[in-house]
């Protein structure tokens, strides 16, 4: 301590320097806080959707999101330099879910009886389309569902493979399988003909 005092004595206005350091740290923290808040706001919806596509237990997803983002905030100084920050959050949250599931020793897939019934009416807006899509996704094997959801959210095959820890061939295969099954589900629900084609047909008739 005495040494420090000695060194400090040489430095002019040590209190000011200390204050300046603190101020800089506070500025940095505030900047990170801002960045982080913006990141959460932009990514939360997407991450939640992806996790829910794979895991149907909402509480588990909620817990995982909380932990993953909190850890993300702790490691923000590293994370902010990542190419795709959202990828790390998804990975972290998925590990958390996996651990929870291993601990609870229960099946990831719950019985389809728990699902909300598919809306029968015509789909008019983006929100309704998303709803009906998530209902159908929940009837798919979880790997297919999560791959499809990520593709829908704009991730590339390579990104999906790396985030989920699977091979790229698997991603392609799951995507195709998901698409096929979703098409079947859509047809079962009565969504068979294309909107544009039907309009055309209708107009031709009226002529």
């Amino acid at each position: 301590m005495t040494e420090v005092e000695g060194t400090a004595a040489l430095t002019p206005e040590p209190a000011d320097r200390e204050a300046a350091r603190k101020a800089a740290a506070a500025r940095l923290k505030a900047e990170h806080d801002r960045e982080f808040a913006a990141f959460v706001e932009a990514s939360y919806h997407k991450v939640e959707g992806i996790l829910r596509a794979e895991c149907r237990d909402r509480d588990m997803v909620e817990d995982a999101l909380n932990e993953a983002y909190l850890h993300g905030r702790v490691k923000w100084s590293t994370l902010r330099d990542h190419v795709k920050r959202i990828g790390w959050v998804i990975i972290t949250a998925r590990f958390k879910i996996l651990k929870d599931q291993q601990r609870r020793q229960r099946e990831a897939a719950m019985a389809p009886e728990d699902l909300p019934p598919a809306p029968q009416s015509n789909i008019v807006d983006a929100w309704e389309a998303q709803e009906v899509l998530s209902t159908w996704l929940s009837q798919l094997p979880s790997r297919q569902a999560v791959v499809f959801q990520m593709e829908h959210d704009g991730f590339s095959n390579q990104e999906i493979a790396r985030i989920l820890g699977v091979t790229e061939i698997s991603v392609r295969s799951y995507k195709a399988a998901a698409k096929k099954r979703l098409r079947e589900l859509a047809e079962e629900a009565g969504y068979t003909d294309s909107e544009s084609r039907r309009r055309q047909g209708g107009s031709r008739e009226s002529r």
Binding site: H71, L133, I169, D193
Partner: protein, 635 residues
């Protein structure tokens, strides 16, 4: 609108304002958690590497294996070699441990791996891996692993195709031990089957009237006398005029059912009532039930009055019922058993009949001595005065679709001269140890009738399991066979085990002896009585008759189907044929054939018919009576 339209529409909308607000709220909450930790100076431990998943440049196998390792999953990597047998195989430490090996102790080859998989699963696993490789498609496979100690674990693997420079270069299996999950799944499946198979105790209810049976009511009376005490009313009913012979069994059953309905209406839900014999009804009143309940005498009076004044309709005609009742009061803890009290009630009702009063009341059970004496003299009197008749019911050989056998059934003459089913009488006779006399009567008269007939069929005669204890029975039967000139090969004795076989050795002697004479041996009411599986092993049984309670609703009960078809399998494995009782419709017959049952007996194949009203009267010739109803019994 089709899937593509929906996908396109779903992609147009970002998060709604509501969801954005939720994300902001969430961000604030995370931030504040972080700030609190920061301010209080405790460290939040982040156990995930902060490695940018997209920035690494390792090959796919390493990448997948690393991800698996982080998730505590094991991996096995396979790469094809230049030739067969040169393929490279490796597993992660985690996977080695799943297979029960310490990491690095086993050099993995294809043969070594196949050794570790349960033999029954090897084919499936190889098939799954080959298909995945050939079709370049991921798959999932669950199999059993045999660990070095011999213990078996369930492992689930995710099979994926690896690519190197765009070409498929191998297979990686990511797996975990799912034994706990698998066991839970098996248990769920078992419970589902169990709940589907578990059925209500139908044997406690009479199929015709829906009332509790004699044995159920006996148990209830027994329970009451051990606890609260109470009163038992036994009501005896018989048609005031003899019902015309033209009445069919269905008509009589309809009458019984309407009496049951009326009784239930009078008694209400408070008391337990049951059918305790032909034309005998029991009503149990427990003291604890209701202090304000009407006394047993008053209820008995009311039942008798109502029954006597009511006109019961039978096939467009009406019939009055002569009715009497006996009431037995008993305190909690009396020594007389439920069955004893029931017999006392029957006697009291019978006393009322002979004394010309509506109701007889016993303030307490009669003494054991008196009861047994009375029961014995009743049985002996019935035997001596031939108050019995023999009926015969056809049995169809299901492989021939023909009646090839008949069961000889006993009927007891009731007070009004009707011949009624004897189960209440036999129950009583068995309890007081007088069943042997009845059995001997049946054997003697049945063999006499058979001997007088053409002996074209095969006849099945009942003997109580209790009578087998009598050392003289075999000699008696043998003598009767010779006396009446009956072909022994035309006879099968059905052992009815309503009571335990009293003396195992004696029973075995009889069974062996009767087989030596040339007669067949059958176990009656199999599955509900006292007949155990060990009887099938040491008694030289030729035929097992499955109890009717397993047969009546077999078309609707998967449990009964399972029981019947497995009794058939078991019996056939032991060289024993199988008959089903209480067959009531064509559908049941088809089902029984499917199960491999050899014989069917029941209302569908033919109801019991009188052979002779009474041997002395000889009104009908035996030849006539034993004539087969028709060649195609099922028609």
């Amino acid at each position: 609108m089709n899937l593509d339209d929906i996908l396109a529409l779903a992609a147009t909308g970002g998060p709604s304002p509501l969801e954005l607000a939720r994300a902001r709220r969430f961000a604030r909450s995370v931030q504040s958690q972080y700030d609190i930790a920061f301010a209080e100076g405790y460290e939040i431990i982040v156990d995930t590497d902060v490695v940018d998943p997209l920035a690494t440049g390792v090959d796919e196998a390493t990448r997948v294996a690393r991800a698996a390792q982080l998730a505590k999953l094991g991996t096995i990597t396979w790469a094809p070699g230049e030739a067969e047998g040169l393929e490279r195989l490796s597993w992660s430490d985690e996977m080695a441990m799943i297979f029960g090996h310490a990491p690095g102790t086993l050099r993995l080859t294809l043969e070594a791996l196949i050794e570790l998989v349960h033999p029954d699963d090897v084919r499936r696993v190889r098939q799954a891996v080959r298909t995945a490789w050939e079709q370049e498609r991921p798959d999932e496979v669950t199999f059993r692993v045999i660990q070095p100690g011999g213990s078996i674990r369930h492992v689930q693997c995710h099979l994926e195709i690896l690519t190197t420079a765009g070409e498929p270069s191998g297979v990686i299996a990511t797996g975990e031990d799912v034994t706990a999950l698998e066991l839970a799944r098996q248990e769920r499946r078992r419970l589902a089957i169990r709940s589907e198979m578990l059925s209500a105790d139908l044997t406690a209810q009479d199929t015709l009237t829906g009332l509790p049976t004699r044995s159920y009511l006996t148990d209830e009376v027994d329970r009451a006398r051990r606890t609260t005490g109470g009163a038992l009313i036994v009501v005896a009913t018989e048609p005031a005029v003899r019902l015309p012979d033209a009445l069919t069994d269905e008509d009589r059953e309809q009458l019984t059912a309407s009496v049951a309905l009326r009784l239930r209406a009078i008694v209400g839900d408070e008391a337990t009532c049951g059918l305790v014999g032909s034309g005998l009804w029991g009503v149990l009143l427990t003291t604890a039930a209701d202090e304000q309940a009407e006394p047993a005498e008053a209820l008995a009076d009311r039942i008798v009055d109502t029954f006597r004044s009511h006109l019961f309709g039978v096939r467009q005609r009406t019939s009055r019922l002569n009715t009497w009742a006996g009431v037995v009061h008993f305190n909690g803890g009396v020594l007389a058993s439920g069955a004893d009290l029931l017999v006392d009630g029957e006697h009291a009702a019978s006393d009322a009949r002979s004394n010309g009063v509506p109701v007889t009341v016993l303030d307490q059970p009669v003494s054991d001595q008196e009861r047994i004496e009375r029961c014995r003299s009743r049985v002996r009197h019935a035997v001596v005065t031939n108050r019995f008749a023999l009926y015969s019911q056809p049995i169809v050989d299901l492989s021939l679709n023909q009646v090839t056998r008949h069961e000889i059934l006993l009927r007891v003459r009731s007070g009004s001269g009707e011949y009624v089913t004897p189960w209440a009488f036999l129950d009583m006779a068995e309890r007081v140890g007088e069943i042997l006399a009845v059995d001997k009567w049946v054997i003697d008269h049945a063999l006499e009738l058979i001997g007088q007939g053409a002996q074209t069929s095969h006849y099945q005669v009942n003997i109580s399991g209790k009578s087998l204890a009598d050392p003289g029975l075999l000699a008696y039967v043998t003598e009767a066979i010779h006396r009446h000139k009956v072909k022994p090969e035309c006879l099968t004795f059905e052992i009815t085990e309503t009571a335990l076989i009293e003396n195992r050795n004696e029973a075995l002697d009889f069974a062996t002896g009767i087989r030596q004479v040339g007669c067949g041996l059958a176990l009656d009411d199999f599955g509900t009585g006292y007949a155990t599986l060990s009887h099938l092993k040491y008694l030289p049984v030729d035929l097992v008759k499955i109890d009717g309670s397993f047969v009546v609703d077999i078309c609707r009960s998967p449990a009964n189907r399972a029981i019947v078809s497995n009794i058939v399998n078991l019996s056939h494995a032991l060289g024993i044929r199988v008959a089903a009782e209480h067959v009531q419709d064509e559908e049941t017959i088809e089902l029984l054939k499917g199960c491999g049952v050899d014989f069917a007996q029941g209302y569908q194949t033919g109801r019991p018919k009188a052979i002779a009203i009474c041997p002395e009267e000889q009104v009908r010739s035996i030849e006539f009576e034993f004539r087969l109803p028709s060649q195609s019994a099922l028609g």
